[in-house]
Symmetry: C2
Subunit: 575 residues, 2 copies
């Protein structure tokens, strides 16, 4: 029987989102998306309702990085432009975010009516133009005949590139009927059509893996976008080779394995480690994303000659580039082709540092907290399955000095570095985490929390999303690092300048102001002993709901590594 009844456009779109595994839609209502919102909860999707659109974008991004894909709905002009910086961030760091924008009805657009949310000039195409540089597909659903195909095209692009797409839905299209037929088959990623060279290339790689004398593995963050993290994890286990991550990928692997060494820090790493990496004769590098921030100013980028890069649809062996070999295919082929007993092994495993627990000792009790003492102590809160977000700044650099249990995902400064992002992303990540747990799809873990480490300046950017976290009763524990302004900017330039100050807020009042119940755990800690005491408090150890801890730190105190290096430069100038 032909599909004469069809389905309403809104239902088509939302059904597709649900098929992709999306359980909740972020966004803000606006008069051009209200009728679309009518369909969200009936479609079995949760409506989050963020405090503003930028935060909604950040949240959808955070959600996408945990569940694979996320979505937000905004309104024409004002809403979508408020979110555009978040969409840009999702583009830069490959989060698959579907940005749906409710637009004026077709008669209004066609007649160039001077409606609100425009420039009063009858021009309706401007904002789609602005979305173009920050999305991998843009569709405007103005024709019921082609809308299903347009939606499917946009969603495919979103998944394929793990980057945002832009879908405009005019008000009068929401309830128009479209064909439901395509819904019978799920959105499928285009199958790889491997280049002819791929077998030879894989054979060459495997042979190199047999003959290498000092092989290592480096795993970067685009592995997630290209769906190869678990394959790479297998390779890490099979080879037993020393393996490092970047800030972008930290936590993708099982960090408790003895051959997994945390983040490689290039010039800031232990000399023995750097020497070992520099002298390696084979570096398998997956999902590379070597922005300056993610590569310690390029110093953790491996040398070209010994390195085999596998990423996207490209494999590189030294300086030879082989195109059209999708990463997933490449890693699968290596795993298939590899004769385990022939893989090069270390007769004695090299003596290379691994992240180690330092923790709390009684001698520290009365000492003021510093970046050096805070992270080892706070580390004890982290449990398997937790999500850690370290905001751009000292938080994002400091928290990588922790030791990760299994199945802990991290969000660290990678490339976009839009401060305030991590608070919005925490909302989205915590919601995704809760969905995965409740669908028994979270490594057999029944309970976990999202832990946000964020500086005062960043917190101020997006603070209202704490209200959303509270409203949805998400398990988010916030450590607000109050170091009296933008410390990361101070160490770059203007150490003592007033422009790096921020307004002085009473941070611990935040949960109460944003509507948390009166018994919500809040604390301010200044010493190591106070922090330790807080960490032992029953109310904090309880995973459920919001917890808020203000941590007082010195404004010119930064974690060792790049920030300390920058600070030293600043201090040297002053002399």
């Amino acid at each position: 029987m032909p599909d004469t009844a069809g389905i309403k456009l809104a239902d088509y779109l939302l059904t597709r989102l649900k098929q992709l595994g999306i359980g909740a839609v972020h966004g803000v209502p606006g008069d051009f998306n209200l009728t679309l919102l009518d369909y969200v909860e009936p479609a079995g999707l949760q409506w989050v309702g963020n405090a503003n659109e930028l935060n909604a974008g950040y949240a959808a991004d955070g959600y996408a990085r945990i569940k694979g894909v996320g979505a937000l709905i905004t309104t024409f002009g004002v809403g979508e432009l408020s979110a555009i910086n978040a969409i840009a961030g999702a583009y830069a760091e490959r989060a698959a975010v579907v940005h749906i924008v409710g637009t004026p009805d077709r008669p209004t657009q066609d007649s160039r009516r001077l409606v609100h949310h425009t420039f009063n000039d009858g021009e309706f195409g401007r904002f789609a133009q602005m979305a173009k540089p920050v999305t991998v597909a843009q569709v405007d659903l103005k024709d019921p005949r082609t809308s299903p195909e347009h939606i499917d095209y946009a969603l495919t692009q979103c998944l394929l590139h793990s980057r945002p797409v832009y879908i405009q839905v005019p008000v009068d299209m929401v309830s128009v009927r479209v064909s439901a037929e395509p819904l019978a088959s799920k959105i499928r990623m285009p199958e790889p059509m491997p280049a002819e060279s791929s077998n030879d290339v894989m054979t060459e790689i495997v042979n190199r893996m047999y003959s290498a004398k000092q092989p290592i593995i480096m795993v970067d963050g685009e592995t997630r976008a290209f769906g190869i993290t678990s394959l790479v994890q297998q390779l890490v286990e099979v080879t037993g080779w020393p393996t490092w991550s970047t800030a972008f990928s930290w936590g993708f692997l099982d960090e408790t394995l003895p051959n997994v060494h945390g983040i490689y820090r290039g010039m800031f790493d232990a000399p023995a480690v750097k020497k070992f990496v520099d002298e390696s004769d084979l570096i398998l590098c997956f999902g590379a994303h070597f922005s300056t921030t993610n590569s310690h100013a390029q110093t953790s980028v491996p040398k070209t000659e010994p390195t085999i890069y596998i990423s996207g649809t490209e494999t590189r062996i030294g300086d030879r580039i082989f195109r059209d070999i999708p990463a997933k295919l490449a890693v699968s082929k290596i795993l298939e082709g590899l004769e385990r007993h022939r893989v090069s092994t270390y007769s004695t495993y090299p003596d290379l540092a691994r992240p180690a627990h330092e923790g709390y000792s009684d001698e520290l009790t009365d000492q003021a907290l510093t970046q050096a003492t805070f992270w080892p102590i706070v580390n004890s809160i982290v449990q398997p399955g937790d999500i850690i977000l370290g905001e751009t700044g000292s938080a994002g650099h400091g928290c990588r000095n922790m030791v990760l249990p299994k199945h802990v995902r991290t969000f660290l400064p990678v490339t976009w570095l839009s401060i305030g992002y991590m608070l919005g992303a925490a909302q989205g990540a915590a919601l995704a985490q809760r969905e995965l747990i409740s669908s028994s799809n979270y490594h057999d873990i029944q309970s976990a929390r999202t832990i946000l480490f964020i500086g005062d300046g960043s917190f101020q950017m997006t603070v209202q999303e704490l209200g959303t976290i509270i409203r949805h009763n998400l398990n988010v524990t916030v450590f607000l690092l109050n170091n009296d302004g933008y410390t990361i900017e101070r160490v770059i330039h203007g150490l003592k300048q007033g422009y790096n100050d921020v307004a002085a807020w009473n941070y611990t009042q935040a949960p109460s102001f944003f509507g948390a119940s009166e018994d919500t755990f809040t604390a301010t800690v200044r010493t190591c002993g106070e922090l330790q005491q807080v960490l032992e408090t029953e109310a904090l150890r309880k995973v459920e709901g919001i917890k808020f801890v203000e941590v007082i730190l010195d404004r010119e105190d930064v974690p060792k590594g790049p920030l300390q290096w920058l600070l030293n430069n600043q201090l040297a100038k002053q002399k």
Copy 2:
């Protein structure tokens, strides 16, 4: 002597801003603008330091509407894109905002280095492309030889169109020396070169003003952008003709004059008023901006035949359009050419409603506050020189039911309608107001406040800017209309839908959370009597600093006029 020493680029740019009358620069520090910020305060400009860039953009816009021009500084990518919705709003409603963006140094851009705040692809031109549709000039200061000229060009465009411009300053250009010579003469608006037809056109207009039987004047908001409000005010006084404003222009004129009748509401106005306007044989209409919102769904747009439009560089008589007659020239010529004794006058001034004080009466004491009672009562707080901001929603519609003293400026929903705008704009407007008062440039008024009426949903969007208001000790009184969600959206669609709810915050804790002193005035009012009592409180009457009053209103209560009409439609549908 030739100008061999020159001046640093940053000093050139900031000197120009100061010459334009800018006293304070809004924005947020970021690592690509820090060195530029070093020059702000030494140039004699105040650095505001907003909590985020969207709010900084809103604030610069609010500042610009009071002082004529405003500026903000953001950082490449993350900062500028966060602000872009505010820039779009300034474009839509003609606020002269100079958006200065600190960008990576030229060597970084030229070598396509994979730095942060990019898409990790070596492309640096993307964000300037995105700025293009929302600004009237874009310059990238990469060449010291042409930078002064580029700056002057951008600023001229900004003033000429009263719309935003975009200026990129690479880090390594900040302290490069450029010629200081152009600074000797101020930025000048291009002189009008009137069309040959202009004398004839003006003669025709003047003759119509002599012969009209039922002439009226309508003043819209673009009069400010084109610098003709005081000229129009003269015409209103000279003619004595019935005069109306729009939401965009309300307060530009002296609203205490007997022939100034407040906002013309088209289909929502008193039938006698509508009839009078409809039957007018001459309508002088200045600075028209007839978006649907600003024209009561086009019903307050005057008929073509009797109307003479003067705006921008165009005069229209009926359906004849005369181009290249700048508005300022046109109005000046009319005022010059007009023989006062020949101007048509009303023998008996027509009986047309004017805004009237209702105020508080004891009978109201125990009544719950409604939109109908709130505005007349709260009206008593408004004093000459105050600035009133009514956020998009019931606040922006309700507050036009007040009576304005002299020299009160208003911000009402016009066209862009980005909720949350008014809180940021309040910060900028209050700062501009303080500057004007302290330079004795404010109608001989020594003390005034900025009064913000804002709904709960809007407040949540940009709440952090309350911290900036407090930090700079601005005189802002906030009436937070707590009606439990997005009431304006409810009356458009989804009256009872959950997506129109917002998180429940404890609003009166806001001043304390954002750092106000403990003795800050805060109150919650539910009845007319409680409101009246608050308005009589000494601490509230004191103009200085922040005051915060939460007003509890019903979620389905809206001011009469368009919102009531929309609500009635919603209610009718439910039956």
